[in-house]
């Protein structure tokens, strides 16, 4: 069992001259949950995409589950799942067809039972043969979550999973996360400080790509965290 899910040292991501993430050090133990907060454009999504090996860090080092995120990314893909704003599905295919395709790509052996199980859990099985394009946004999000859990990832990356999710979806997501065994680490981007505090073991706040707060929730009282959150957001809004 590798001890660290994520190890990042002076991690930087530049888009031309502008750097979205600047000199970020981040260490997350296996099985721990991390919440990333910050205003829009603070670099949360860039960091998330780097963690999902979708983007190459401009400089610094990033290793996930003990392997280099960029050079050994193809070894990592089996253990990572990334749920973003986009559902990452084929709209012209049905839920069943989508999951069957990805089950093959992730070479999952008992694919059909796994798909049935997940469709049950996300309460989509009654509309499994319908094309996704007829699904509501909440249903698409739930299917995206089902797809993410398909290959039992060790690292779950959720980019604002609760945004745009109907109440039923929230319950589904929480149930699925609760069911995860301890070994799975979760990194989640969120805009609600209260929920993040209760959910995560560690809290990371970004402002213009730089780390302004990185504490574990045990060492930081909720009030103090909420104060510093408001202060940072106030700074942010003034500077814009």
């Amino acid at each position: 069992m590798t001890e660290f899910a994520v190890e990042a040292y002076s991690l930087t991501k530049k888009y031309g001259a502008r750097s979205a993430v600047k000199d970020l050090d981040l260490v997350l133990e296996q099985g721990k949950k991390l919440a990333i907060l910050g205003a829009n454009g603070a670099g949360k999504s860039s960091l998330m995409r780097m963690l999902a090996t979708l983007e190459r860090p401009s400089s610094g080092s990033l290793s996930i589950l003990g392997k280099d995120a960029y050079k050994e990314s193809d070894l990592l893909l089996q253990d990572i799942a990334y749920v973003s704003h986009q559902s990452q599905l084929y709209l012209e295919l049905s839920a069943q067809e989508n999951l069957e395709l990805f089950a093959k790509l992730y070479s999952i052996d008992n694919a059909l039972e796994r798909i049935d199980e997940l469709l049950e859990k996300t309460q989509l099985s009654y509309r499994r043969h319908e094309l996704i394009k007829h699904y509501s946004q909440g249903m698409k999000q739930r299917l995206a979550i089902a797809k993410a859990f398909l290959h039992k990832p060790k690292l779950l990356l959720l980019d604002e999973p609760y945004a745009g999710l109907d109440p039923q979806g929230v319950a589904v997501l929480n149930a699925l996360i609760a069911e995860l065994d301890e070994g799975v680490s979760i990194i989640l981007i969120s805009h609600s400080p209260e929920a993040s505090y209760d959910f995560a073991d560690e809290l990371l706040m970004l402002q213009e790509g730089e780390k302004v707060l990185y504490e574990s929730s045990s060492q930081l009282s909720k009030e103090e965290f909420l104060d510093r959150y408001k202060q940072a957001i106030f700074d942010e809004s003034w500077a814009l």
Partner: protein, 229 residues
């Protein structure tokens, strides 16, 4: 490995069967080009030997129509970010190249099954075609392989840039030019159908075949640098 390729190809064909975006747009475009040919050739004198020109006209039609289809290679991937799902799945990304290549090849063949007879119907009915013209299938297939191969690689490059379609055209046409020369020459030899040209026909097909082999090998090798996050 092969099952993943089949799954990807099945997905591409299924998507096209449902949405029919690629084939319909290619067919409509081909019909438009044929009507323009009609106008272009309307003033030719009776003794004008259409056979000399028909091979070139046919291939011009195929290349331009294929551009329309190739541009849509990744349209379904782009709709809801499905491309990222493919990038994140742990499998040989060149399988995407192979599945898209086969899909595009099949679409080109389906297109030609309709368009080549139509071309004959519109322009070649009056002229006496030799029996060898049925051999036209060989250069057509070789041409399709080359266009689908290089085209799929270039489509992967241009699908995420802003002026995608014109960029694909300017990248593809010069790269495809030698193949075009060989195919036009082979098709002309068959359509005109005089005996001594048959030797030229075999040589042109040989050239087209070697072009396909070289370019597909290069495209396959380079593909992992194209389809990456």
């Amino acid at each position: 490995m092969f099952t993943k390729f089949l799954a990807l190809l099945k997905k591409d064909l299924l998507l096209e069967a449902r949405s029919k975006t690629v084939l319909s747009s290619m067919l409509i475009y081909a019909l438009l080009v044929l009507t323009i040919y009609g106008a272009a050739l309307s003033q030719t004198a009776d003794n004008f030997d259409i056979l000399q020109v028909s091979s070139g006209l046919l291939w011009a039609l195929i290349v331009f129509t294929s551009l329309i289809g190739l541009n849509k290679t990744f349209s379904h991937e782009g709709e809801a970010g499905a491309l990222y799902a493919l990038l994140l799945a742990p499998f040989e990304k060149s399988l995407v190249f192979l599945s898209k290549l086969c899909a595009n090849f099949i679409f080109l063949v389906l297109l030609e099954v309709i368009v080549v007879p139509l071309f004959y119907f519109f322009f070649l009915q009056t002229s006496s075609l030799s029996v060898q013209s049925v051999l036209l299938i060989l250069p057509l297939l070789l041409g399709n392989v080359g266009i689908a191969g290089v085209g799929t690689l270039l489509a992967s490059i241009t699908q995420r840039s802003k002026s995608g379609d014109i960029l694909l055209a300017i990248l593809l046409v010069p790269l495809i030019f030698p193949l075009l020369l060989a195919c036009v020459s082979a098709s002309a030899a068959v359509i005109i159908g005089s005996a001594e040209l048959m030797e030229g026909f075999m040589r042109s097909c040989g050239i087209a075949f070697s072009y396909d082999a070289i370019m597909l090998a290069a495209s396959y090798a380079l593909y992992e640098f194209v389809l990456r996050p």
